[in-house]
């Protein structure tokens, strides 16, 4: 137990360090000076520019040697501060992130969970019925091949512009203020549906195909052969195959998270949905590097946390790991 968990924990800690360092490192190792870039937006007199540059450099610490800046970065992190946003000055980066997170989670979590569950069922069904397989397999591959941006354009076009069923951007209707009213909630859901559908559809294909392959493999393996030879019902064999296949599929979930997060970002940007994705986009266009870095760290933490949760679930579900951790004798 200890050895396994320590190993995992070390990986996560190192991953966090790596992610944070990359995050800090990129702007500092890239050509260009963030303060300079910021100030170039304003029309300043040389004298004023010099003074302002000095102040800002001091405020943002860019005049210090690299090591000191790195240290300050960690110091800030430890205090829960990710810096101040440039474009939304003087808002804290953390404030902006926290107001965007609920929207991102509202898209990500249902999309992942539902596509995973449904995808698994479809894949398992395809594995047993040849007819279903012949239609499902190509469909699954097509779905998985769809670029996120495309679906994020076609869906709102069809449902928004052409058929006027759903709105095409934003989180809720303009002119509405957040409140616990029915109109607001309906508007929220209305705006949520298409972006959710986008992430859902693309992910669905992948799970279905993965599960199908795993179930087919399990249906052919020795333990299934034995059950069949001893007259086990097809239902029993299917059930067992499904159980066996669920484990690698679960670890696959952890590894696909990065891809889905990326897709989610693209979707949010396309739909102007005010989650982290849109925040990133704005940060890029406004050259707000502190915001960008803050979001990156946040996403890294989020993905690591999700991985950890999945690891825990895996332990709970897989008897092998559970028992090896309790040191059961073979």
């Amino acid at each position: 137990m200890r050895r396994y968990l320590t190993r995992k924990l070390i990986t996560y800690v190192l991953a966090f360090f790596a992610g944070a360092t990359i995050d800090w490192g990129i702007p500092h190792l890239m050509p260009g000076d963030p303060v300079q870039l910021f100030l170039s937006k304003f029309d300043l007199e040389p004298g004023g520019y010099a003074a302002l540059y000095k102040t800002m450099a001091q405020a943002f610490g860019t005049n210090l040697p690299l090591w000191d800046q790195y240290w300050h970065f960690w110091d800030g992190l430890a205090h829960g501060s990710l810096g101040v946003s440039i474009y939304a000055f003087p808002d804290q980066v953390t404030t902006l992130i926290f107001s965007a997170i609920p929207y991102t989670l509202a898209l990500l979590v249902p999309a992942i969970v539902l596509s995973y569950i449904l995808g698994n069922r479809l894949g398992a069904a395809a594995a047993r019925r040849r007819v279903l397989d012949n239609t499902l397999l190509p469909a699954g591959y097509v779905f998985q091949a769809i670029p996120y941006p495309w679906l994020a354009l076609v869906l709102p076009y069809l449902f928004g512009e052409v058929w006027h069923v759903f709105p095409i951007s934003g989180a809720y209707g303009e002119g509405l203020l957040p409140a616990f009213s029915l109109t607001f909630v309906v508007s929220l859901l209305d705006h949520w549906f298409l972006p959710f559908l986008t992430v859902f559809i693309v992910s669905l294909g992948g799970w279905a195909i993965g599960m199908r392959n795993l179930v087919i493999y399990e249906l052919e393996n020795d333990s299934s052969r034995y059950l069949r030879a001893l007259g086990g019902s097809e239902r029993l064999i299917r059930r067992y195959a499904y159980r066996s296949a669920s484990l690698p599929q679960l670890s696959g979930l952890a590894l696909q998270l990065g891809v889905v997060v990326g897709g989610n970002i693209v979707t949010e940007i396309a739909f102007h949905y005010p989650g982290l994705g849109l925040l990133i986009y704005n940060a890029i266009t406004d050259e707000d590097y502190f915001l960008l870095q803050g979001i990156f760290i946040f996403i890294v933490i989020g993905v690591l946390a999700a991985n950890f949760i999945i690891d825990l679930v895996y332990i709970a579900v897989d008897p092998r790991t559970r028992l090896s951790m309790q040191g059961a004798a073979a």
Partner: protein, 317 residues
């Protein structure tokens, strides 16, 4: 109660046509008899044995009949065979080490399998416990997962499960191949004990190892290239085999205690014919030291002495 197989042929399709690992095979096994089914790799013995219980989707039954206790077994129809499996005919597979699903405890596996046959696990629980002790396992094995058990334990658990419903015919497919000699002996003795206690009535033990059969089997059936070569009681096969193939097989077995400077090991030169394109006539012809021109026609598998069948012109003479 007994097993009767008549003119059974099994084929599977390949790129170059049908291959028949089982070609017009007829034999019978008496009630309470342990018959050894011997032959080298590719002789078709495994296919013959397992076809009696489960015919792979890739295999087809070309013809023939299998009768168990006077009842016809619908081996060609997988769905119709299901009620017979485990209850009348059962199998200890070659892959016993990986036959148990790793995601279920043994207890659960047994319960689920029984339920497939409409048997409640508590009906057989008492008997199951007795048999666990019989094979030398602890009662806690029920609450273990398969990966927690050693290879030998898994083999015994598989033996247990396969025989739980007292099948009339038990097919043991290469159950000793992966074991060391002393465990082989133990498994062999266990199989005999199961027969003696009436847990299974007739047994077909498939192996390439004649020495095991010498210990365990009452009679031996030798197969070569998809056809039957010889069948007789174990004593007869070991002491006075008639078919040249059987003779050479026995001659190639190393004798315990004999050193290489006293006798060299002899094998049988040549290789078995390709089943995709079997030769005309007797299939052993190319490697047989006694072959003569009559061997160009297929010798029939017939009884030359009471209970002794051979497919050889020389032997029939």
């Amino acid at each position: 109660m007994s097993v009767r197989v008549e003119h059974l042929s099994i084929a599977y399709r390949t790129r170059s046509g049908d291959v028949c690992p089982v070609d017009d095979v007829s034999f019978s096994v008496a009630d309470g008899e342990i018959m050894g089914l011997a032959g080298e790799s590719g002789s078709g013995k495994s296919t013959l044995g397992t076809s009696l219980i489960y015919l792979d989707a890739r295999m087809r039954c070309l013809g023939g009949m299998v009768e168990l206790d006077g009842q016809r077994l619908p081996i060609a129809d997988s769905r119709a065979m299901r009620p017979y499996r485990m209850t009348e005919v059962s199998l200890i597979p070659q892959y016993a080490m990986s036959a148990l699903n790793p995601t279920r405890k043994v207890r659960q596996l047994i319960a689920d399998l029984l339920r497939s046959h409409g048997v409640r696990d508590r009906e057989v629980m008492a008997e199951l416990k007795r048999r666990i002790a019989l094979v030398g396992l602890g009662q806690d094995v029920l609450d273990r997962y398969s990966f927690e058990l050693s290879g030998g334990m898994r083999q015994r658990v598989t033996l247990l499960i396969s025989t739980l419903l007292d099948p009339s015919l038990l097919i043991a497919d290469e159950v000793t191949s992966a074991l060391d000699v002393s465990t082989q002996r133990a498994v062999g003795e266990m199989m005999m004990e199961f027969r003696d206690r009436g847990i299974s009535k007739s047994m077909i033990v498939i192996t390439h190892d004649l020495s095991i059969l010498a210990q365990v089997a009452d009679s031996i059936l030798v197969m070569y290239a998809g056809r039957l070569a010889e069948r007789a009681s174990t004593g007869t096969i070991i002491e006075a085999p008639l078919h040249p193939y059987t003779q050479l097989l026995l001659a190639s077995l190393p004798e315990v205690g004999v050193r290489y400077d006293q006798t060299t090991l002899t094998g049988i030169p040549g290789r078995p014919p390709s089943l995709a394109n079997p030769p005309e006539g007797c299939r052993f012809r190319a490697r047989c030291p006694f072959a003569f021109d009559r061997c160009a026609t297929t010798p029939p598998f017939e009884e030359v002495a009471p209970g002794h069948f051979v497919a050889c012109w020389k032997a029939a003479a």
